[in-house]
């Protein structure tokens, strides 16, 4: 290969390297920027009451389903209940089939949007695969459940 013919591909390869670096930096920047705007994607009730997320933002609310708060509406498919964390309470409305392990007094992670009237409308209730599973976000709230897990796994 002669020098003059060889030079251009070399330049073009430099262009490729520059392109690669630019794209990867862009990826990092976009990712961190998008993540920062996500930073408060997960809320516990007291956080949600303190600083309300914008009404159109999809967020997750995690807490305990208060005992005795579950009411099924006349349409048969909409359920109202209250999620609390001991400090604050958020009323939640969910239309759909409740996950198998959804019961009063246990933890739940609800995906949805906070309405202007203060009700959290959930599109999804995160179910768990087995009764030992505790959403990590709820770990500290469910000391009793964690004890149960330890008991079950060690067989005591």
């Amino acid at each position: 290969m002669s020098e003059t013919r060889g030079l251009q591909p070399k330049h073009q390869r430099l262009a490729l390297v520059v392109l690669a670096v630019v794209v990867l930096i862009a990826a990092a920047l976009i990712a961190t920027w998008a993540l920062r705007s996500q930073a408060s994607y997960f809320y516990v009730p007291s956080e949600m009451v303190e600083e309300r997320p914008a009404a159109d933002r999809a967020v997750r609310l995690g807490g305990m389903v208060e005992t005795g708060s579950m009411v099924t509406r006349p349409d048969g498919v909409t359920v109202d209940f209250v999620v609390g964390d001991g400090k604050a309470r958020v009323p939640v409305r969910y239309s759909g089939i409740l996950p198998d392990l959804f019961v009063e007094g246990s933890g739940v992670v609800a995906e949805g949007r906070l309405q202007t009237d203060g009700t959290f409308v959930a599109d999804n209730l995160l179910a768990k695969h087995d009764e030992n599973y505790v959403p990590r976000e709820l770990e500290e709230m469910t000391a009793a459940q964690k004890k149960l897990v330890v008991e079950e796994t060690t067989g005591t």
């Binding site: 392109l19 990867l24 993540l35 994607y41 087995d130």
Partner: protein
């Protein structure tokens, strides 16, 4: 006795892995030693022993030996046989044993068959493999012995998690593992080649089948896992950006990039350093995947058998392997000579852009998956979901799809864009037509719309490499590429169509009531109890008729298992050519009504059909490569015989 045999075999296999490490290590250090010759036989025997050990575990599960702790914890005498067998890997210890079994079997295969590389490189590769395997043996033997006995045999087993009692899921983890392990083999090749300074096209050719195999299994595993989540969880969704899903997607992305760069190295002797680095990255991703899934460190709805303490062990392994490989890479990358040159506008150039985009997507997914861990270190709880992954991933997916359409049409080394302009314009016009067609129809979101248009354009573009070629004489590998790229287009159309046109209906129905969705009219005919081998269920019988046609019967169930006591949702699916009707039976709403959830999902099945096409493309490419190797080897042998004849 069986358990003890299995354990003894496992110890012996571990010892052989150590021997393999020492023997191969000597070879890598250029020391002419008799011991180096032992690397190959050690790999073969190690594979056989490990396979034997795994067979013993399966046997224990088959006869439900309740004196073994693992069996007692995870099985039950009343379980159907197929789930007893699958139960042997449906838990932490068993799955780790399967991991190391597959890896040592691969090592045996390499030791037995691979003759393409210089002997020294081969021995160094086996040393690297012995090293990786040794970590997993240590893990099994010291912290998760699958053959541990109970002091007193249990009377009955605990059973297997009911959600795992599904034929699809029983075979899902092993499929993914085959993928992970395939990447660990590729990693060993990389380390071997780096240690002996032989990053050559031959190295790429020797590594490629393993990357292809891993990639095929990962593709099938992801596709099957997605379909399983779709029908078993009863949420009607096929991808949740869950950490466990990401754990399989990340190695797939890395393997896809590696596959393409290895092809460049094999065909054109370019991208040497890049390929080597991707080999390290791909294996890191499969280790990170294993770590995320097994440690339970992240919130996941899919995580089973998690244990933070074991997570720490895997994390330590991860750091040793990756740190070690990066160190070798750092020291030796400089010695990897520059490969062949190429221009920006060329097949290589397109593949580099594809690689960069895949890496960017990988980075985006990795960052999003690990971000909750990072913020937790400073005390902030976060969960990252679709609002992040969808747009951030799409930014890089869309340009990658464009390059994917053009790349295969370009020539190696250098080309002109004008040459491929006409066919690409044709593909673009198809995309535009779809865009206009859909806009006239309804107004779905921006991303699904773009997805549909790009999918259509890509479907056309992916077939363009066939233009003007004699189809019967086209190499299988080329067919593989065409089929896999077409599969991506098909899957994309399925995804976009599902998110754009899916309809949902939720109702509380009395027996005899009907609900309408799309062109369907669904009547709840009956609700009755049914019994299975280890569960009871409430079954709803629904009659669904499409635009007034003959009704089909759907029978979703709400199951209750006895051991462990747990409830699962069995959705019912009716598949038509143009979509799928999805029905779930919920709880009794009040005295006489039942909750029913229905979805009409146009063309949703294309998602998984596309996934299978992608995997099938991989199979074609693999077969093509293997046939090519065989031919090359036969020619070489004939040549040698002829030379011997002439000299005689």
């Amino acid at each position: 006795m069986i358990a003890e045999l299995g354990l003894a075999a496992l110890w012996l296999a571990a010892a052989l892995a150590a021997l393999q490490l020492v023997a191969g290590g000597l070879a890598a250090r250029q020391e002419d030693s008799e011991l180096a010759l032992l690397a190959r036989p050690a790999a073969v025997v190690q594979g056989a022993l490990c396979l034997f050990s795994f067979a013993m575990l399966v046997w224990l599960f088959a006869r439900t030996d309740l004196s073994v702790k693992l069996v007692a914890m995870n099985s039950h005498s009343m379980k159907p046989m197929v789930f007893k067998l699958a139960g042997s890997w449906g838990n932490h210890e068993g799955s780790m044993l399967l991991w190391v079994t597959v890896m040592s079997a691969a090592g045996a295969l390499i030791g037995f068959l691979e003759r393409r590389l210089p002997e020294r490189t081969m021995q160094a590769t086996l040393a690297a493999q012995g090293f990786v395997a040794l970590g997993f043996y240590a893990f099994l033997l010291f912290s998760s012995n699958p053959f541990e006995r109970l002091p007193v045999p249990a009377l009955e087993g605990n059973g297997l998690n009911p959600l795992l009692q599904d034929i699809g899921l029983a075979f899902h983890p092993p499929t993914l593992y085959l993928g992970y392990v395939g990447l660990s083999v590729a990693f060993s090749f990389v380390v071997g080649a780096l240690l002996t300074r032989s990053v050559t096209p031959d190295f790429a050719r020797a590594m490629r089948p393993w990357v292809l195999g891993a990639w095929i299994f990962l593709t099938i595993g992801i596709t099957a896992g997605s379909y399983w989540a779709y029908y078993e969880l009863g949420w009607g969704g096929w991808w949740f950006w869950d950490p466990v899903e990401n754990a399989s997607l990340m190695p797939w992305l890395a393997a896809t990039a590696l596959l393409h760069s290895a092809s460049v190295l094999a065909a054109r002797d370019a991208l040497r350093t890049w390929t080597v680095m991707l080999g390290v990255v791909a294996f890191s991703m499969s280790m990170i995947g294993t770590f995320l899934v097994r440690s339970g460190i992240l919130t996941s709805v899919h995580a089973f058998a998690v244990d933070p303490e074991r997570g720490a062990f895997i994390l330590a392994l991860l750091m040793i392997y990756i740190g070690g490989a990066l160190a070798v890479f750092g020291f030796r990358a400089g010695t990897v000579a520059e490969g062949e040159r190429f221009a920006l506008v060329s097949r290589e150039g397109a593949l580099v852009i594809n690689n960069v985009m895949l890496s960017a997507i990988l980075g985006v997914v990795l960052l999003g998956t690990l971000y909750p861990l990072l913020t937790e270190a400073v005390g902030v709880r976060v969960s990252v979901g679709p609002p992040y992954f969808d747009p951030a991933g799409a930014i890089f997916t869309l340009p990658m799809l464009l390059v994917m359409a053009a790349g295969p049409l370009l020539r190696w080394r250098r080309d002109r864009l004008e040459r491929v302009k006409a066919p690409l314009i044709a593909a673009g016009l198809v995309a535009l037509a779809v865009l206009v067609g859909v806009l006239a129809f309804a107004g779905p979101g921006v991303l699904p719309l773009l997805g549909l248009a790009l999918g259509a354009g890509l479907a056309v573009a992916s077939l363009l490499p066939l233009r003007g070629r004699k189809l019967t004489r086209l190499p299988l590998a080329t067919w593989g590429m065409v089929v896999a790229h077409f599969g991506i287009a098909v899957a994309l159309i399925g995804m976009a169509s599902d998110s754009a046109f899916s309809e949902e209906r939720l109702a509380a129905l009395k027996i005899g009531d009907s609900a309408e969705i799309g062109s369907w009219r669904v009547t709840l005919a009956a609700v009755s109890p049914v019994a299975g081998p280890n569960w009871n269920a409430i079954e709803g019988v629904m009659l669904a008729s499409y635009s007034g046609g003959i009704p089909v019967r759907l029978a979703p169930q709400a199951r209750s298992f006895w051991t462990p006591p747990q409830e699962t949702t069995e959705s019912a699916l009716e598949t038509r050519w143009n979509g799928q009707l999805y029905a779930v039976l919920g709880k009794a709403a009040d005295g006489e009504r039942w909750q029913v959830r229905l979805w009409w999902k146009p063309f949703v099945t294309l998602i998984w059909f596309g996934g299978l096409l992608i995997a099938f493309g991989g199979v074609l490419a693999l077969l093509g490569r293997l046939a090519q190797d065989l031919r090359r080897r036969t020619i070489a042998r004939k040549g040698a015989a002829r030379r011997a004849e002439l000299s005689a």
